[in-house]
C-alpha cells in the first residue's frame, strides 16, 4: 500500500470517459419556478406560439387519452428564432414511456410551420400532482374512468 492517501482513502470513481467534462447537455433545471407558475397551458397565446400549443395539445399520454397539456406536464414553452424549447415533467419518475413521450412532444412542436427545431427539457421541479391537471383534463380522466376527486 502506498503511503499517500490515494488508496481506499481517496475518493475517485474510475471514469470510462477520460475526457468527461460538463458538456452541452441540456437537461439542466435552469429556471426556478414556483408551484403557482405551473403548469403552462398556452392560455392567451397568440400567433405561432398559439399554433405550437395547439400541436402540443394533440400529444396524449400513452396510457390514457388525455393531452399532456391537460395533464399539466408542460411547465414552459419558449420560442426563439424558429426554435421551440419546451420544459416538461412526467407524472412518475419510473415512467417507462419517457422517451416515447418526449419524442412525440418534440415532433409535434417541430411539425408546426414556422418552427425549425424543437427541444424538450425534462424538469423535476416543482413537483407534479393531480392539482396540476386542468379542468378539461380532469373531465377527460373521469370519462376514462379515473377518479380525480380528493
Amino acid at each position: 500500500m502506498s503511503s499517500e492517501p490515494d488508496g481506499p482513502e481517496e475518493y475517485d470513481r474510475p471514469r470510462a470517459d477520460a475526457e468527461a467534462a460538463p458538456c452541452g447537455y441540456t437537461d439542466y433545471e435552469t429556471k426556478e419556478r414556483t408551484a403557482e407558475e405551473v403548469p403552462a397551458t398556452g392560455e392567451g397565446a397568440e400567433g405561432l406560439e398559439r399554433e405550437v400549443w395547439a400541436a402540443l395539445y394533440e400529444v396524449e399520454d400513452p396510457e390514457m387519452p388525455v393531452s399532456v397539456v391537460d395533464l399539466g406536464l408542460i411547465y414552459g414553452l419558449e420560442l426563439d428564432d424558429g426554435k421551440a424549447t419546451i420544459d416538461m415533467t412526467l407524472t412518475y419518475s419510473g415512467c417507462p414511456a419517457r422517451e416515447i413521450i418526449l419524442e412525440e412532444v418534440e415532433e409535434a412542436a417541430a411539425g408546426v410551420d414556422g418552427v425549425d427545431d424543437a427541444e424538450v427539457r425534462l424538469v423535476w421541479a416543482p413537483d407534479w400532482s393531480l392539482d396540476l391537471v386542468t379542468e378539461q383534463g380532469k373531465e377527460a380522466l373521469r370519462e376514462f374512468g379515473i377518479s380525480v376527486e380528493r
Binding site: 492517501p5 481506499p8 482513502e9 481517496e10 475518493y11 470513481r13 474510475p14 471514469r15 470510462a16 470517459d17 475526457e19 468527461a20 467534462a21 460538463p22 458538456c23 447537455y25 437537461d27 439542466y28 433545471e29 435552469t30 426556478e32 412518475y92 419518475s93 419510473g94 415512467c95 417507462p96 422517451e99 416515447i100 419524442e103 425534462l122 424538469v123 423535476w124 421541479a125 413537483d127 407534479w128
Partner: protein
C-alpha cells in the same frame, strides 16, 4: 440547523472541489437504488401472494426510476450511460453491500427486513438532501420523496403481520441479525470527500447523524414488535462504499452487463431512435 448556504448553481458552474463532492453524493444514491432494484427482480416471481408480486415489482420500478434520475444528474457532468453502467467494472460501483446480497432462498422475511432497513435509511437520507445546496439534487429529492412513502409502509405492515406468528418471527429475527451489519454500510463514508459534502451543504446531516436517526427509528418500531435490534454490531466489510464488494456483486454485475456485451454493443440503443 437552518444555516443559509450558498447555492452551488448549475452543473457547469461548479468548481472542481464542488463537482467532486456532488458526484460522490450522487454515485451512492444512484448505485444504491439501481442495485436494490436489480435484486428485487428475484422476488417478483416468487413472492407469497400476487399482491406481493405486484408490490415488489412496483418497488423495483420506483427504484429504477429514481436510479435513472440520479444517473441523469451524473450525466450532466459528461458521463454517459454506457460508461456508468454497461461498460463499467464491478469495482466502479459504490453501493452499500446490503443491496447486492442475494436473497435467502425461500425466505420472504429476508426480503421484507432488507426492504425495511433500506427504505428507512433512504427516508432519512432524502430528508438530509431536501435543502441541499445543489439544486439538481434538491429538485429530484422532492420528487422522489413522494414516491417512497409507500415503501416503508409496505414493509411495516408485513413486519407487523409476521410478528404475530412464531415461525415468521424467528425468520424476521434471523434476517435482522444477518442483515444489520450490512445495513450499517449505508452510513459508511466513501473517503475524505465526505467532509466536503457536509461543508458545502450538499447534504445537511452527517453520516453519523443519519445513522443515529435511522437506528432510533428502526429500534423503536422493531422493539415494539418484540424483536431485538443488534445495535452493538459493527458495519460489515467490505462496505461497498470503498469500491470493494462481496463476490455476489461480481456475479450480479456479470449478469447485468451480459446482454450488452454478448450483443457486441458499444452504445445503449434508445427506444424510438431515428435511424
Amino acid at each position: 440547523m437552518a444555516t443559509t448556504r450558498t447555492d452551488l448553481g448549475s452543473p457547469e458552474e461548479l468548481s472542481e472541489r464542488e463537482q467532486r463532492a456532488v458526484e460522490a453524493q450522487l454515485f451512492r444514491l444512484a448505485d444504491d437504488e439501481y442495485i436494490q432494484a436489480e435484486r428485487y427482480t428475484f422476488w417478483q416471481v416468487r413472492a407469497p401472494t400476487l399482491e406481493s408480486d405486484l408490490a415488489v415489482a412496483n418497488n423495483a420500478q420506483d427504484e429504477l426510476g429514481h436510479a435513472r434520475l440520479w444517473y441523469d444528474a451524473i450525466q450532466m457532468f459528461g458521463y454517459t450511460e454506457e460508461s456508468l453502467l454497461w461498460e463499467s467494472e464491478p469495482d466502479d460501483f459504490q453501493h452499500s453491500t446490503l443491496v447486492e446480497l442475494p436473497f435467502s432462498e425461500g425466505d420472504w422475511a429476508d426480503a421484507i427486513v432488507r426492504g425495511y432497513l433500506y427504505d428507512v435509511a433512504e427516508d432519512v437520507r432524502l430528508a438530509a438532501l431536501e435543502d441541499s445546496s445543489y439544486e439538481v439534487i434538491r429538485n429530484r429529492t422532492s420528487r422522489i420523496q413522494g414516491e417512497e412513502d409507500y415503501h416503508v409502509e409496505l414493509a411495516r405492515s408485513w413486519l407487523e403481520r409476521m410478528a404475530t406468528d412464531e415461525e415468521a418471527s424467528e425468520r424476521v429475527q434471523a434476517a435482522l441479525d444477518r442483515l444489520y451489519p450490512y445495513a450499517l454500510t449505508l452510513f459508511e463514508p466513501v473517503g475524505d470527500v465526505e467532509a466536503d459534502i457536509e461543508e458545502l451543504g450538499i447534504r445537511t446531516a452527517s453520516l453519523d447523524e443519519m445513522r443515529g436517526e435511522w437506528e432510533e427509528r428502526i429500534t423503536a418500531f422493531l422493539t415494539d414488535l418484540g424483536f431485538e435490534v443488534p445495535t452493538d454490531a459493527e458495519p460489515a466489510t467490505p462496505t461497498g462504499r470503498d469500491n470493494q464488494h462481496t463476490d455476489h456483486w461480481h456475479d450480479l454485475h456479470e449478469e447485468m452487463v451480459s446482454a450488452y456485451r454478448n450483443l457486441g454493443r458499444h452504445e445503449a440503443t434508445k427506444l424510438m431512435d431515428d435511424e
